[in-house]
């Protein structure tokens, strides 16, 4: 049955992701070289950035399946959107907690209006709106549609938010940060980052499949309960 297959894949990917995560931690702590200006604390980077990337991937998936749900009305699409949103919110939270920690230790302030951080903060609130709207309707079908609309509008406006936040940041005095970003990233750092990115993505996909399967089981249970009562 479809759900069983999902669960198998989900479990497999989650295990794989966790193994990857262990590898990433090993690499971040023991293998990769220390960054010159910031020291050890810079290693948070290998968790912080992939978390952000994964949360945006999740949101994109959520918005896409939401759009298809409104078009096709297949409940499975809505379940996928929900599963993606949950995963996305988790990773956004990880990003938002590691960021200020890093900031405080590395250059003395918790919050610097760094564009990625700001964007993720707003994304987190879009996720919040998604869940609040889902859960606060009398008719659950309405809640699903409302949530889908929230996700879609969010996705459409994210590019603008992104640009505006970057532009805004350019006005602010920034601490001198040697951002180990882009093509100038030294080889071992690049490798660690990519591994982490892969691990996080795989982990997210595994959790997504498990959550999606769980939601499928839930609605099957609801349907059977209803049939039993009737």
């Amino acid at each position: 049955m479809q759900v069983k297959g999902m669960r198998r894949w989900g479990t497999a990917l989650t295990v794989l992701g966790l193994l990857g995560l262990i590898l990433v931690y090993w690499m971040s702590f023991f293998w990769v070289s220390t960054e010159a200006t910031q020291g050890i604390v810079q290693r948070i980077f290998y968790v912080h950035v992939p978390a952000a990337w994964t949360s945006f991937l999740a949101f994109g998936l959520c918005a896409l399946t939401s759009g298809m749900y409104l078009w096709l009305r297949d409940e499975r699409l809505d379940r996928a959107a929900l599963a993606a949103a949950e995963g996305g919110m988790v990773f956004a939270t990880i990003m938002l907690t590691t960021g200020p920690l890093w900031g405080k230790i590395a250059w003395g302030t918790y919050w610097t209006w760094e564009p990625r951080l700001t964007l993720t903060l707003l994304l987190w609130f879009i996720f919040l709106g998604y869940f609040m709207v889902r859960g606060s309707t009398e008719d659950p079908g309405k809640g699903k549609r409302f949530a889908a609309v929230v996700a879609i509008v969010g996705a459409l406006e994210i590019p603008f938010i992104h640009l505006s936040v970057i532009w805004f940041r350019s006005l602010h005095p920034q601490p001198v940060v040697v951002r180990p970003d882009g093509p100038t990233l030294p080889g071992d750092m690049f490798a660690t980052l990519m591994t982490s990115l892969g691990a996080f993505t795989v982990l997210f996909l595994g959790m997504f499949l498990l959550r999606y399967a769980l939601e499928g089981l839930k609605s099957e249970l609801d349907a059977r309960t209803r049939r039993a009562i009737a």
Partner: protein
């Protein structure tokens, strides 16, 4: 096409006439605007901060908060006698209903935003600068974008148990571009900077607004279907 326009005009006329007769929203929003300016003024210690430096931001935030008040009630007047049902059962397409409501709300909010600008100019001792038309344009674009998102999510929130209290949570994250570019442009224009400096702002604001209106028009039908 002309049938569509007739429908939009009919709904727009209805909303504006009702607003004129009850004057609920305009009084609340206008009163809010003036009182906010007063309180903001009180909140500034002129020994530490020059009011002119932060006026633009406060103007835009006042417009946002006041706008929330007005937009949140968009669907109240339809809820009274189930009128929204009647409207939706008519041949008027959903996006026509949305556009009409957006235009009605925009008319209301734009007038209020000009009022806000005027009040702040008065209280904060501002100079209008060399391009008042550009400021008016920025306010227009910002109001329209805000109203588009607000109207869409007002329909959403009025369908939930939480009602209008949900509106800020849904709308605020999306307003970052409006505030950054709108207040940014206004600040520069009030500081008498050349128009060329804010052209980019206005373009981005315009694009943001276009997307908001378009998204709302397309998605509104999914929100109000039953």
């Amino acid at each position: 096409m002309s049938a569509y326009l007739t429908q939009v005009r009919a709904i727009l006329w209805k909303d504006l006439v009702i607003e004129l007769r009850t004057r609920e929203r305009v009084l609340v929003m206008g009163g809010f605007a003036v009182l906010s300016a007063v309180l903001f003024d009180f909140s500034i210690d002129r020994a530490l901060v020059a009011p002119q430096d932060i006026a633009a931001g406060l103007i835009w935030m006042t417009i946002v908060f006041g706008g929330l008040l007005g937009v949140g009630r968009t669907f109240h007047l339809e809820a009274e006698d189930g009128a929204l049902r009647g409207l939706l059962m008519s041949p008027a397409p959903r996006d026509a209903v949305f556009i009409a409501k957006v235009l009605a709300n925009f008319t209301l909010l734009y007038v209020v935003s000009l009022l806000v600008l005027g009040v702040f100019i008065l209280f904060f001792d501002l100079e209008l600068g060399g391009s008042p038309a550009a400021i008016a344009l920025a306010l227009a674009l910002g109001s329209l974008g805000f109203v588009a998102l607000g109207t869409l999510f007002a329909a959403v929130s009025s369908g939930t148990r939480l009602g209008e209290t949900l509106l800020p949570i849904l709308v605020f994250p999306l307003l970052a571009p409006m505030i950054v570019y709108g207040a940014g442009a206004t600040a520069r224009l009030l500081a008498n900077r050349p128009l060329a400096e804010v052209a980019g702002h206005l373009r981005m604001l315009g694009a943001f607004t276009v997307v908001a209106v378009f998204a709302g028009a397309v998605l509104f039908r999914f929100v109000v279907e039953d």
